[in-house]
């Protein structure tokens, strides 16, 4: 077989014989947004996910309460989930040694942290960093409880991407799994977690 790579590159060089100019990219779009925590909470809720605002001291209680409300008994956890998040009354399944797909498919939910959250779009980004684990952990369980710390919130998409390392495995999550495939109307809940709950941790209690 002739060299496809060489031929495609030669075709490209031939096609660009007119030497089109490389244009200047305008970058004067929005980068920063004020009151990002409020906006994030509002935008996540818009996707029909639940958001609770808590202070750092109240986080373990909030995790326990959320899991109880959900009725989640066996709950998967990244191997490095902070010990104070591992509240009692739950059968924790740490991902160490790695859980099998069957175990993950059969468990009641998963608790993780995140790397970055995007206020403008109500998005959580996981990068397999601290308290997040492998990508599959937040995929197979039907319930995902995600903890976001206030300093992890970026106002806009450009601000969020600047904080991320692209060569890590990244998953952007905006609400529960959904589809628009039936009459172009959004329905929540297909293959990914059908319920997403977010605990937003702020240093001061929210003014509500």
């Amino acid at each position: 077989m002739a060299d496809a790579r060489g031929e495609i590159l030669a075709r490209i060089r031939g096609a660009l014989a007119d030497r089109p100019e490389t244009p200047e990219v305008p970058r004067d779009y929005l980068r920063a947004l004020p009151r990002a925590a409020d906006l994030l909470a509002e935008r996540i809720a818009h996707y029909r996910a639940t958001v609770h605002r808590v202070d750092a001291a109240g986080l373990p209680v909030a995790i326990g309460a959320a899991l109880r409300r959900r009725g989640a008994v066996s709950v998967a956890a990244p191997a490095d989930l902070p010990p104070e998040w591992l509240v009692s009354g739950v059968r924790w399944m740490p991902d160490s040694p790695p859980l099998s797909t069957e175990q993950l498919d059969g468990c009641d939910g998963v608790v993780t942290g995140c790397a970055v959250a995007v206020a403008e779009t109500g998005t959580l980004v996981l990068d397999a960093g601290p308290a997040q684990g492998r990508r599959v952990l937040t995929l197979l369980p039907d319930y995902h409880l995600c903890v976001v710390r206030a300093e992890q919130i970026a106002g806009t998409v450009p601000e969020a991407l600047a904080r991320l390392e692209p060569t890590r495995p990244l998953t952007f999550v905006s609400g529960p799994s959904a589809t628009s495939d039936i009459e172009l109307d959004r329905v929540e809940g297909v293959h990914g977690p059908r319920t997403l709950e977010v605990l937003l941790v702020e240093s001061r209690p929210a003014e509500h």
Binding site: R11, E120, P166, V190
Partner: protein, 477 residues
């Protein structure tokens, strides 16, 4: 080209004939009116919320123009980055070559079934059919693709291939074709989604090979990006041992930072959301997390031919959002299948004939005429593809290819002669007014040959009883 490009469907009739048949399908028209109407309103809302939408559009267009102007450099850079991170890069000049590469890779794993993430590139090259011929079953896991596959149907929309089906038709297809469809399945979208979840769950958990497309790939870092909604993409991208991604060579962005533009443009233009539910980014192989083997197939299949046309090449900026389909008055009435290609609607009308790259293919050559040139497509395009400009350009190319005696060439030569002199022009206007005698209800539906070639596919408006020049002379002169 040695073999025909499967981007158009074998035996598909030219657009005017296909459109006439589609127009008679009242169910189809009702389904499309409803779906495109819903999404048009939502898109306007999602876009209206972003103050600098115009800046983002210009940025998107400029980044893509940069990619096209330096495509060779960026492709080589991408290849280096993917390889350095443990991926394997393959190059395919055409559909047949890409299909052969993928089939060989699947066979090497010993698997006889693969799960697939919705991908325009693999639909374009007819990968599923090629795999089937090679004894490999491809299971589509996107809900709309599954509906098309189970219904033994063809796609009619870039984003939602089953847009021509309403909920009760989908229920019927599931009940008939899904062996494990629940008893008493209703046509509630939530129930239908649940049925798909149950049907595919075991396939995901046992799949050894997945095949995906790519929305973007970052040349600098080798990162590949897939946007989706359901989580079927994540299943395919993380569970199997082997992942094969087929990507058109134009789907690059130069740097990670450039994605900040497209992750804003695409979801709002496409599903009219601030952000789609899931976006996955991976770079080569991540030890202990996801597939152990990653293959990236870079596909030409007519793209370099498209790149060679300085006017037409802007079609390669397309990020497959489908906003132009949803606003197109022609698409809304004829549906996607009339275009005879996986790329329907305004973008299909300019992309398909360029990918086919055969001036003697009458079906592909008919596509640039499937437009009223109203310009709505250009207005919504997130990367500012001037679709009307390319349509006119391709029409000109196709008329020129048909020679100087084609009806258009004769008509245009006659028009040039008439417009060349004020006296000839006025006389022609007076003659035109006589056409009022064949009008019914304000329009003319049938004119004698050769004008019948115009009125076969459209109504002509009735000419005014007198021209503006005559009126001016009589009233103001």
């Amino acid at each position: 080209m040695a073999t025909r490009n499967p981007v158009t469907w074998l035996g598909a009739p030219a657009f005017p004939k296909a459109a006439r048949e589609a127009l008679a399908d009242t169910q189809l028209r009702a389904n499309l009116r409803r779906a495109t109407g819903t999404i048009r309103g939502r898109r306007a809302e999602a876009v209206g919320e972003v103050e600098q939408w115009e800046v983002l559009r210009r940025a998107g267009a400029a980044i893509k123009d940069d990619v096209l102007a330096n495509l060779d450099t960026y492709l080589v850079r991408l290849e280096e980055a993917v390889t350095a991170r443990g991926g394997v890069v393959h190059w395919a000049r055409d559909a047949a070559e890409a299909n052969a590469i993928v089939l060989d890779l699947v066979r090497a794993t010993g698997a006889d079934e693969v799960v697939k993430v919705k991908s325009m590139a693999t639909a374009e090259i007819g990968l599923n059919e090629a795999l089937a011929e090679g004894g490999v079953t491809a299971v589509e896991t996107d809900l709309a693709e599954l509906i098309v596959q189970l219904g033994d149907d063809r796609p009619s929309h870039v984003l939602v291939p089953a847009i021509h089906r309403n909920r009760s038709e989908i229920r019927e297809i599931f009940a008939r074709e899904m062996p494990d469809a629940p008893e008493g399945l209703t046509d509630e979208p939530a129930d239908l989604a649940e049925a798909a979840r149950e049907h595919l769950r075991r396939k995901f958990l046992s799949a050894r090979v997945a095949i995906s497309g790519a929305n973007f790939a970052v040349a600098d870092t080798g990162s590949v990006v897939v946007l989706e909604s359901e989580g079927n993409g994540r299943m395919c991208l993380t569970l199997p041992e082997t992942l094969i991604t087929v990507m058109g060579i134009e789907k690059l962005v130069p740097t990670w930072r450039d994605l900040e533009v497209f992750l804003q443009l695409l979801p709002r233009s496409s599903t009219a959301e601030r952000m789609n539910p899931y976006t996955s980014v991976w770079t080569g192989v991540h030890p202990g997390d996801g597939p152990r083997e990653f293959h990236l197939v870079l596909l030409d299949n007519g793209r370099t031919a498209t790149l060679a046309d300085p006017v037409g090449r802007q079609a390669l900026r397309c990020i497959r959002c489908s906003a132009c389909l949803n606003v197109c008055p022609v698409y809304e009435r004829t549906g996607g299948k009339s275009y005879g290609s996986v790329y329907p609607g305004p973008i299909g009308a300019i992309l398909t004939p360029q990918l086919v790259d055969d001036p003697h293919d009458a079906q592909a050559a008919s596509l640039p005429f499937a437009s009223s040139l109203c310009g709505a497509c250009f207005e919504v395009c997130p990367v500012r593809i001037d679709i009307p400009e390319v349509l006119v350009h391709l029409r000109e190319r196709s008329v020129r290819a048909r020679g100087r005696r084609s009806p258009e060439a004769v008509a245009m030569a006659a028009a040039a002669w008439v417009f060349g002199s004020p006296r000839r022009y006025e006389r022609a206007q007076r003659l035109g007014s006589l056409a009022r005698f064949v009008a019914r209800g304000g329009t003319i539906s049938h004119l004698p040959w050769p004008a019948s070639r115009w009125t076969d596919a459209r109504d002509a408006p009735v000419p005014a009883p007198e021209s503006f020049r005559t009126w001016w002379r009589n009233n103001r002169g």
